[in-house]
């Protein structure tokens, strides 16, 4: 067991040949100061005091709260998450003429979440292609174009609509590299918003990461902040593998200050959000904000949770996760997928298989309920994991 772990640990160290900023190394010069989307300044500093009563009630659309310093003097530039995605996309389209976008209303309309706004005017109608409502075939078209060497970015207006393209994504996107004996590369990026929104109804609140996770040959990443959204978008476009980039409907208006200089993140790396000692909380996408909100309460109560945004849903960054488990010996997974067959279920299995010797308690996985997401606001709230439940789970775990 230990031998396998060491093998994984050593081998999973990033073999990337391109320059990229890892989250921990982004502060190049000592003076770079970034306000993070949850309002806390970061530079590896520990929270000022355990007794601070600084609670943010709305975990989601947190516009940058007032930090004392003026914005004009700080390096980098501030933008919203969808703008960060657009910036990454535009930089890659400038860099490589083979990169193109296709999807419903991405061109003239500018994208239903404004991610592609202005791009059609700049690059033309063929390069930013408005498709008819035919997910199966325009996904197939994107994959066919990728077989010849183009690098399309296929947008699903909502991730749930990509269920119609499941055949193309599973058989052609994921498997063609293998079944052709390596002849064809499929460097597509399939992206779109998913997750539970504000009373959007069952069909528009789906979490497709749980359905796609078994497809061999694809990579899945989930972005959660403007910084990692831009970095992951660029990395996904540059990757030779098909990548599915999961965005979240409720996170598009997050504001953050990101560096001016170019950076690309690693697709396979997890992000250390808050180092700690008592318990490892693994999360991704919107649930990161629920976890951080719960973390404030936990800190007040004297706990020291380590929060990791796993970012890479396939494959898991077992290196970062493993190191954390070895330190804290307790794991809580907080996800938005449903309990059955979700990312949390796979992650639980992966951690148990590899790190059972380091666990002091069984892994606790908090997921959404196994129900179609109801329309009524109160019911919808009870479907997803709320910060109070996270606090209770940590308290029970740490007994």
């Amino acid at each position: 067991m230990a031998a396998i772990f060491q093998g994984i640990g050593a081998a999973a160290a990033l073999p990337s040949t391109e320059k990229f900023h890892s989250q921990s190394r982004r502060f190049v010069s000592g003076s770079l100061f970034v306000v993070r989307s949850d309002g806390r300044p970061s530079l590896g500093s520990s929270p000022r005091s355990r007794g601070a009563q600084h609670l943010i009630t709305n975990a989601v659309a947190a516009k940058a709260d007032a930090s004392a310093t003026s914005t004009a003097s700080k390096p980098g530039h501030e933008l919203l998450l969808f703008e960060a995605l657009r910036e990454g996309l535009e930089e890659e389209m400038d860099r490589d003429p083979r990169v193109c976008v296709m999807g419903e209303d991405v061109g003239h309309y500018g994208g239903s979440y404004k991610v592609t706004k202005g791009l059609a005017t700049k690059y033309g109608d063929l390069r930013v292609l408005d498709t008819p409502i035919a997910e199966n075939s325009f996904t197939g078209m994107g994959i066919g174009a990728a077989m010849t060497g183009l690098r399309p970015i296929i947008e699903g207006m909502n991730m749930g609509f990509l269920l119609l393209a499941f055949n193309q994504i599973s058989n052609n996107c994921g498997m063609l590299h293998y079944t052709s004996g390596g002849q064809f590369k499929i460097p597509v990026v399939i992206r779109g918003p998913g997750g539970v929104g504000r009373q959007l109804g069952a069909e528009h609140s789906q979490r497709l990461e749980s359905y796609f996770q078994s497809i061999p040959g694809i990579q899945m990443v989930a972005c959660s902040t403007p910084y990692n959204a831009k970095g992951l978008m660029k990395a996904a476009i540059r990757s030779e593998n098909p990548v599915i980039l999961f965005e979240h409907v409720l996170l598009y208006n997050l504001k953050e200050r990101i560096p001016d200089e170019e950076y690309v993140l690693s697709l396979e790396e997890a992000e250390m959000v808050r180092p700690g000692e008592h318990v490892t909380i693994l999360t991704y996408s919107r649930m990161r904000y629920h976890v951080m909100q719960a973390a404030k309460t936990l800190v007040n109560k004297g706990y020291d949770p380590e929060v990791i945004d796993i970012r890479s849903l396939k494959p898991f960054d077992l290196y970062t996760i493993g190191n954390s488990v070895k330190k804290t010996h307790r794991v809580l997974i907080v996800e938005e997928c449903m309990r059955t067959g979700g990312i949390g279920a796979s992650l639980t299995a992966a951690i148990t298989e590899n790190f059972i010797d380091y666990l002091d308690a069984p892994i606790v996985c908090l997921s959404s309920q196994d129900v179609p997401t109801p329309y009524a606001g109160t019911l919808e709230e009870w479907t997803v994991v709320q910060p109070a439940q996270i606090v209770t789970a940590v308290e029970q775990l740490c007994q």
């Binding site: 075939s137 996904t139 052609n172 004996g181």
Partner: protein
């Protein structure tokens, strides 16, 4: 069959004797014959073309003796390969699904004659002969069918996943109809890169009822993509006859606003003419549908006897009247481009080539166990992977 010939007088040169066949046994080896390259024969197709929303091309097709003999050789090679695959399947060297193309050879060969290797072809699972036409070798075919690592997809694809990227052959797809959007994607890339090439996206009469075909056709027509949709209508979607599956079996008309052409798919010259016409049309005006009226002698696949839904009389009737190889043979003999004995010796040679390739493929090794984990990702992350019992570390993803 009306025909007329015109000879250019002083250009008759004797061809060199049959050159030694390369060990890869590719298509198109030269023959010794008194035919010369420059003679142009004009031959009328068996039936006229029928157009939908377009002016059909002429019935008179120009060809040369060399081309006709080439057609004969290529189709005979394809026929022989498929028959050999039949017996390999029955002796359990080929497993799983095996969909044979015999009877439909004229479509593959006629198409190749009209296009270049830079044009793309994509088809479904009845792909062995199209792979051969695109420059694949017999050895690669049989190796892949038997799951050896020398196969065209390293043994990891199988009968339904033949590909040859450098020659513009994009497969080889198992799910009915899924290759059509891929084909429109190939055409999109050709238009994007301004290649002046076209894509032939082939499908069957069974797939003609798939929604994704019409979705892809709509997009191809909307953006004037150089996509040619070729319906190989062999009249049976596995066990269901076309009239029981389609309200309108006139597949060339189902594009509605997209022009279509109905072609006798058993006449290699008609196929060649139609494909040339379609290529010109697609480069100027966008998509066009070609319906090839063809027939398969075998069942849908090796697990289908092929006689429960059609009579043996029907099969032998088509074989007698419309067989593509016999038609070319008659053409060659009546124009005195060769004689019986020579054609027989060509067929005998082909048999030898096929047998050699099979013997060679039988000897070639199975893929290495480490191949299980290669080609999953293009650039992986060095993750260690283990076999099912997790006791033995099998490999590291690259």
């Amino acid at each position: 069959m009306a025909l007329s010939t015109s000879l250019r007088s002083n250009l008759i040169k004797p061809l060199t004797a049959l050159t030694a066949l390369s060990s890869t046994h590719r298509l198109r080896s030269p023959f010794s014959s008194s035919a010369d390259d420059a003679t142009v024969l004009t031959i009328e197709t068996s039936v006229p073309f029928i157009g939908h929303n377009c002016e059909p091309p002429s019935r008179n097709v120009e060809t040369t003796p060399k081309e006709l003999l080439g057609f004969f050789h290529d189709m005979a090679l394809m026929r022989r390969m498929e028959i050999a695959s039949d017996s390999l399947y029955k002796s359990k060297l080929i497993r799983g699904f095996c969909h044979l193309y015999d009877g439909q050879e004229a479509v593959a060969v006629g198409m190749e004659a009209a296009i270049t290797r830079r044009d793309c072809i994509i088809t479904a699972y009845r792909d062995h002969c199209i792979y051969l036409g695109r420059g694949g070798t017999l050895f690669e075919c049989f190796s892949e069918l038997m799951g050896r690592q020398s196969g065209c997809s390293k043994g990891k694809g199988g009968s339904m996943h033949f590909y040859k990227k450098e020659n513009g052959f994009y497969g080889g797809h198992g799910i009915v109809g899924a290759q059509i959007p891929l084909g429109c994607g190939l055409a999109f890339a050709q238009k994007y890169s301004k290649d002046e090439t076209v894509t032939f996206a082939m499908y069957g009469d069974g797939a003609a009822n798939q929604g994704q075909l019409f979705e892809a056709l709509n997009m191809a027509a909307l953006w004037d993509l150089p996509a040619i949709l070729v319906c190989e209508n062999n009249h049976y979607g596995m066990g269901t006859a076309e009239w029981r599956a389609a309200k309108s079996p006139a597949y060339y008309k189902r594009g509605d606003y997209v022009p279509g052409l109905k072609v006798d798919g058993m006449d290699v010259l008609a196929v060649k003419q139609a494909c040339r016409f379609a290529k010109e049309h697609a480069l100027k005006n966008g998509p066009i549908i070609l319906e090839m009226d063809t027939y398969r002698y075998h069942g849908h696949s090796m697990s289908d006897p092929g006689s429960t839904y059609r009579t043996r009389d029907e099969i032998s009737g088509v074989r007698q009247e419309r067989d593509p190889i016999e038609r070319v043979r008659k053409l060659i003999l009546s124009h005195e481009l060769s004689n019986e004995a020579e054609l027989k010796s060509i067929e005998k040679e082909i048999r030898g080539q096929v047998d050699d390739a099979i013997a060679q493929a039988k000897e070639s090794p199975m893929p290495d166990p480490s191949e299980l984990f290669t080609n999953v990702y293009v650039k992986g992350f060095g993750i260690e992977v283990a076999g099912a019992d997790r006791k033995e570390v099998r490999g590291v993803l690259p």
